[in-house]
Symmetry: C2
Subunit: 386 residues, 2 copies
């Protein structure tokens, strides 16, 4: 039933997972992919909310399936004394407890950090919430969209002069899930020396601030309010999408050496020597002029032709891929970044793999399908008998 | 000179850092913030490329300063035999080596994984590159912009019917930095049992695929190509930005209970009972209609008025913040998510803090300013004498 996971780095770590929807489940998926045993505890009335978010395949949520592989499921009512005993029995041997309730909910259930730490001194307890366990907004609810807006990311994303745009993935949740994974692992490392768990307190809004490091530093340095720039990088030029004869190409030139290679490849070696384009700073100041020069030349040939030219010149570039184009890309395939899981009555569903590649071992060779609600009840109750 | 870091979770871990620009330095900043000692090795001809990326304060790069706190710096020429000996001496006691050269560069320098592992068996060696150490594109160069475009994220970000937009931060780099941190820590945890380091191979493109988990699952389930949706969530409704009398508000309602609360708060309790809006699925199908209903009502009052109403109703919501609005937010301040470092001749620069909050200890209380190039040379040479 369990995966052959002794080679995986987190083999031997047990995670009790009270999370739902996205930030928490993304974190516990990372831990599970890396070899931890994740026991997902779901509410008996329908389980994880994301089981009811579409699209569905044979009545099962692809949203849920995408982030709950390699987990076991049991339904427990955390207000029911018998069910609480099962949870508490699990915590006796667990290494990590993760939850993403709104701040205060665990305390109302009678599970404070102080109480948990006294009873299970080695337990690492991670909370992921919209605004964290401290501060004036700690009791406010949040979702991805809220922290993308409040956190400033929407204000720097979108077309020049246009409306703010949401990042097309839930980076408010996924970001928090990644920082939570980092926090949990860091405390597991410290625990090797101390034997003691600690409380990890992750706020989705804090994580947005952390992702916004560059716009914050730019504003601090210049006083200029960062705005959406379409596809252009704010401080590096040319780092943008350009029209070709038949579509678009992205060119990303981070230093003067690469810029000289680009100019050579385009048959305009002289540009690299001109004062207006000679340095990163000059190119950044004259980005409109430079884009005009580049597009005038790039529209002479097709994207595929320029890809060949820029590849042999060693200039970083790439096509704009749609999701299906990405999924058909031979390199993505070769890297094992797409895996097939079973959904519904066992229908294959292709989902994203795990990008943490270690020692040539594919962490997802023995992927366990996302569980149906309460799927592992009997086995788990037998294992954690009172 | 060194931080008082014995309480921090990664105290005692030493990282030799060959990285530059963003993905690698972001990873080593996370490790440093959590207590690891990070020795940044820079090329003697100008150091980290990002030292030359604007904006500048007193001639020093705010870009560089934002992601290089808590690190020591020494300039070494990795082609010079004497300098190589210094590096190799450091590796004798180091726990982690991180680099983000293009795949193949370390091998050309004579540092293969096999060679490093034979000589330093406990060393965890992490490589971050555009496309990873394997696969057909492994030798291709990449920057953030390239992987955002190739990885499909630009294709799902932007206004409805508009051009693809780049996410306003370098999520191609930062994402890779976060997954690399996770990979490194996971191997450090395994090393506790085995005593052996392993190779961590992070590809920026792989990381984009991992972030794209939901669009990939949606495409797999439905065959519909995901497109930019402006500010709307693809599968959850209402999860969007709405016009008010004087601006915009974001409302994020993830389940039916919250939707009923929203309808109540707006004085339209009847909406929650209507078939067209009764379930997540129905609301998603009728999102245009629902947005019209909501905006008709929300334009009756100001953003601030609706914030008060929605806060007391317990409905997740938030304002759209610009970067300066975010930086003035009292909750962001209370969470310690902005810190002041010294730049140039010691001028304070406010930058993003670290969102991994552990046990109430602020990891950034004793922040060390970003180093000038080669700042720690004498002390490091004395420590790692041959």
């Amino acid at each position: 039933m369990m995966r052959e996971s002794s080679q995986l780095p987190l083999a031997g770590i047990t995670v009790v997972d009270l999370t739902r929807v996205l930030a928490g489940p993304y974190c516990t998926m990372m831990l599970a992919d890396l070899g931890a045993r994740v026991i997902k505890i779901e509410n008996p009335e329908g389980g994880d909310d994301s089981r009811h978010v579409g699209p569905f395949v044979d009545g099962e949520s692809a949203y849920f399936a995408s982030i709950n592989r390699n987990k076991e499921s049991i339904a427990l009512d955390l207000k029911n004394p018998e069910d609480r005993k099962v949870l508490e029995k699990m915590l006796e041997t667990a290494d990590v407890l993760v939850e993403n309730f709104r701040a205060g909910v665990m305390e109302k259930l009678g599970y404070t950090w102080e109480g948990l730490h006294a009873r299970y001194p080695g337990l690492v307890y991670a909370s992921i919430s919209g605004f964290g366990q401290t501060g004036p907004y700690r009791n406010r609810p949040a979702y991805d969209m809220v922290v993308q807006a409040m956190g400033g990311l929407m204000s720097v994303t979108g077309e020049v002069g246009g409306n703010p745009a949401r990042v097309g993935v839930s980076i408010g949740d996924i970001g928090a899930g990644l920082y939570a994974t980092i926090g949990i692992q860091s405390v597991l490392l410290k625990r090797v020396h101390t034997g003691l768990g600690e409380r990890v307190d992750i706020s989705m809004l804090d994580c947005q601030v952390a992702l916004l490091e560059n716009p914050i530093a730019r504003y601090s340095a210049t006083g200029t309010v960062p705005k959406p720039l379409g596809t252009r990088h704010p401080s590096i030029t040319p780092f943008d999408m350009f029209a070709t004869q038949d579509g678009f190409i992205v060119v990303a030139v981070g230093n003067d050496t690469l810029f000289a290679k680009l100019c050579d490849a385009l048959g305009h070696a002289e540009w690299a020597g001109e004062a207006r384009f000679a340095t990163v700073l000059a190119r950044n100041e004259n980005h409109v002029e430079l884009k005009a020069c580049l597009e005038k030349r790039l529209t002479d040939a097709t994207t595929a032709e320029w890809e060949a030219v820029l590849e042999s010149a060693g200039v970083p570039h790439g096509p704009l891929n749609s999701v299906p184009q990405l999924m058909q890309n031979p390199h993505v395939e070769a890297r094992g970044m797409l895996i097939d899981i079973g959904i519904g009555q066992g229908k294959p569903l292709r989902i994203a793999g795990n990008p943490v590649k270690i020692g040539g071992v594919d962490t997802l060779t023995n992927v366990r399908n996302p569980p149906s609600l309460d799927q592992d009840r009997d086995r788990l109750l037998a294992e954690f008998k009172l």
